[in-house]
């Protein structure tokens, strides 16, 4: 999953260790997320979004096709 964590962190003038301490994970986890080798849990994604005071979508970009996952396209009136 693509993310903009590095940009956000560097804009805030933080080291990976600073950010890790702020959201209670290891520095290695922040590094793995930034290198897109680890997708964080929903809880950690929310923590990061709350820390940077933004929406999760502004930090993380899912790989899947959003159109195919749209609930508005479901036919709920059929049998």
């Amino acid at each position: 999953m693509e993310n903009h964590l590095t940009e956000r962190r560097e804009e805030a003038g933080l080291s990976q260790g600073d950010l890790a301490a702020a959201v209670d994970v290891t520095r290695q986890t922040i590094n793995a997320i930034e290198r897109e080798r680890y997708d964080p849990s929903l809880e950690l994604a929310f923590k990061l979004a709350a820390f940077f005071e933004c929406h999760i979508e502004e930090l993380f970009e899912p790989d899947f096709d959003r159109e195919s996952a749209s609930v508005s396209e479901l036919d709920l009136t059929s049998e």
Partner: protein
């Protein structure tokens, strides 16, 4: 940006790598001590070395995360552990299911003779499978 951030500059305590190296270093010393004890005919000293160092590693692994100011393990470690465990179980079961029944049938047909050591391995593998099944059932019921 949130104001809950704490700078790591003032944090005292060991880092994750030191933590992991300490644990595996102690386990390594224990294994070497045991091996040396066997090779030198000093089994009692080797066993004592192994037990002391391995239990020291267990105590370090269990207590340091609670007393350290630095985060030493998190959700990523848990996920890595789960993936490694899953891969180990998968390989063990594929290998076990692919080999053990065939061995048993060949032994029953007197084509081969399974030695006591191999039987020990089969029993150990079976016990491992049962333990996994029990753990899986407990976890599944809790979730």
């Amino acid at each position: 940006m949130s104001d809950t951030m704490e700078s790591t500059n003032a944090v005292l305590g060991i880092g994750k790598r030191t933590y992991e190296r300490t644990i595996w270093g102690l386990v390594g010393i224990g294994c070497l001590g045991l091996l040396a004890g066997i090779l030198l005919g000093e089994q009692l000293i080797g066993t004592a070395t192994y037990l002391v160092t391995v239990w020291a590693a267990v105590i370090v692994a269990g207590t340091l995360p609670y007393v350290s100011d630095t985060k030493l393990a998190d959700e990523r470690d848990e996920r890595l552990h789960n993936q490694a465990s899953g891969m180990t179980i998968g390989i063990a079961f594929v290998a076990g299911i692919g080999i053990i029944p065939a061995l048993y049938v060949l032994d029953a047909g007197n084509y081969i003779t399974i030695s006591a050591t191999v039987w020990g391995g089969i029993y150990l593998f079976s016990a491992f499978g049962l333990l996994y099944g029990a753990c899986y059932t407990i976890i599944n019921r809790r979730s």
